[in-house]
Symmetry: C2
Subunit: 146 residues, 2 copies
DNA sequence: CTACATGCAAAGAGTTTGCATCCGC
DNA sequence: GCGGATGCAAACTCTTTGCATGTAG
C-alpha cells in the first residue's frame, strides 16, 4: 500500500543500482499482497503479469528490497518467510493455530516489553516485527464448547 | 538437566508407547546439550554413543518427545529448530546478532506482555518459548566505540 | 560497452516419508 | 507374535548459487 509514492528508480540510482521491470513487479506484488506474503505467493503474483520471471529472481529481489529497507522479512514459526512493505506503522502479527486467522496488533505493547528487557538485562531487541501464535477469541469460544 | 528423575519407560508405557535405547539416547543428548541444541547437534551427540542411529530417527524422536512434553522446540530467526529440555522454569532466549551470544531471560516480562495483549485484543498467546534478536550489552559498547 | 541483473538448471540444507525389517512387551 | 519403532533411501520444500546471457545506464 502507498508505495506508489516511492521513486524506486531514483532511489536505486542514488545507491548505484539499476531499475528493472522485475524489481518493480516484485515490489508491486508485495504491496498488493496487503499484509504479508510468502515468496511463493509473490512469485505467483508476478507471474500473472509476466510469466517469464524466475523464482530465483523473486528470491534475490526480495532480499535486495529488504536491504534497501523497502520491505521487511519475518521468519514464521513454521520456518517460512513472509515479506511485507516496510515503513508502515510498526506493528506485529498474531496467527491463530486453530483457524490460521492473521491479526495485527500495534507496537505499543511490544515496545513496552522491549523496554523492560533493556532496563532489566541490558540487551536491546532489534526485531521490528514479530509473529506470535496462539488462539484467537473465536477459537477460544469453540474450544470451550467442546 | 535433571532428567535423571524422569521415569521415561514408565511414562511411555502409561501412554501406550515403547521404551527404546534410541529414545533414551536422544533425551540424554538434549539434556547434555545444556541449553539448546539443533537436531544435527543432537544427532552428532547420539552418534558418539551408537553410530548406527539414523538421522530420521532423531528427528522423529525429537517430535515424539515434544509431543510427550519432555522437550520444547523453538524456531529460530534463521529458520532452524532448536530443542531443549522442558519442565524447567519458563524462560526465553536472546541471541546477539553481532557475537551470537545466547542469553536467557525470565518469563516475567514476557508473561506481562502476553497478558496485555490478551486484555487488549482478546487473543491468547500460547508460545511457551520465544527467541529474540538484537545487540547484547558488550556489542552495544563496541558499536559506540566505532 | 561494461557491469549489474536475470534466467536456467542444478545444488544445497534441513526435514519428512514409504516401506521393509526389527524388537519391545 | 503383534504392532509400534527403526533404518535406509528417496523425496520433498524452500532457498541459494554458478554460469552464460541479457540489458540498463
Amino acid at each position: 500500500m502507498s508505495h506508489q509514492n516511492v521513486d524506486l528508480a531514483g532511489l536505486l540510482h542514488q545507491k548505484g543500482y539499476r531499475m528493472t521491470a522485475q524489481r518493480q513487479m516484485v515490489l508491486d506484488a508485495v504491496c498488493e499482497a496487503d499484509g504479508h506474503a510468502t515468496p511463493e505467493e509473490i512469485w505467483a503474483r508476478v507471474q500473472e503479469k509476466s510469466s517469464a520471471v524466475n523464482r530465483a529472481t523473486v528470491y534475490r529481489t526480495l532480499k535486495f528490497l529488504r536491504d534497501m529497507d523497502l520491505v521487511t522479512a519475518t521468519m514464521l514459526e513454521d520456518g517460512h518467510f513472509e515479506y511485507e512493505i516496510a515503513g508502515e506503522q510498526p506493528h506485529h502479527h498474531f496467527v491463530c493455530r486453530a483457524c490460521d486467522v492473521n491479526l495485527e496488533f500495534s507496537d505499543e505493547a511490544f515496545a513496552a516489553f522491549v523496554k523492560s528487557l533493556q532496563q532489566r538485562y541490558g540487551f536491546v531487541v532489534e526485531m521490528s516485527h514479530i509473529t506470535l501464535t496462539g488462539l484467537c477469541p473465536q477459537c477460544q469460544e469453540q474450544t470451550k464448547q467442546r
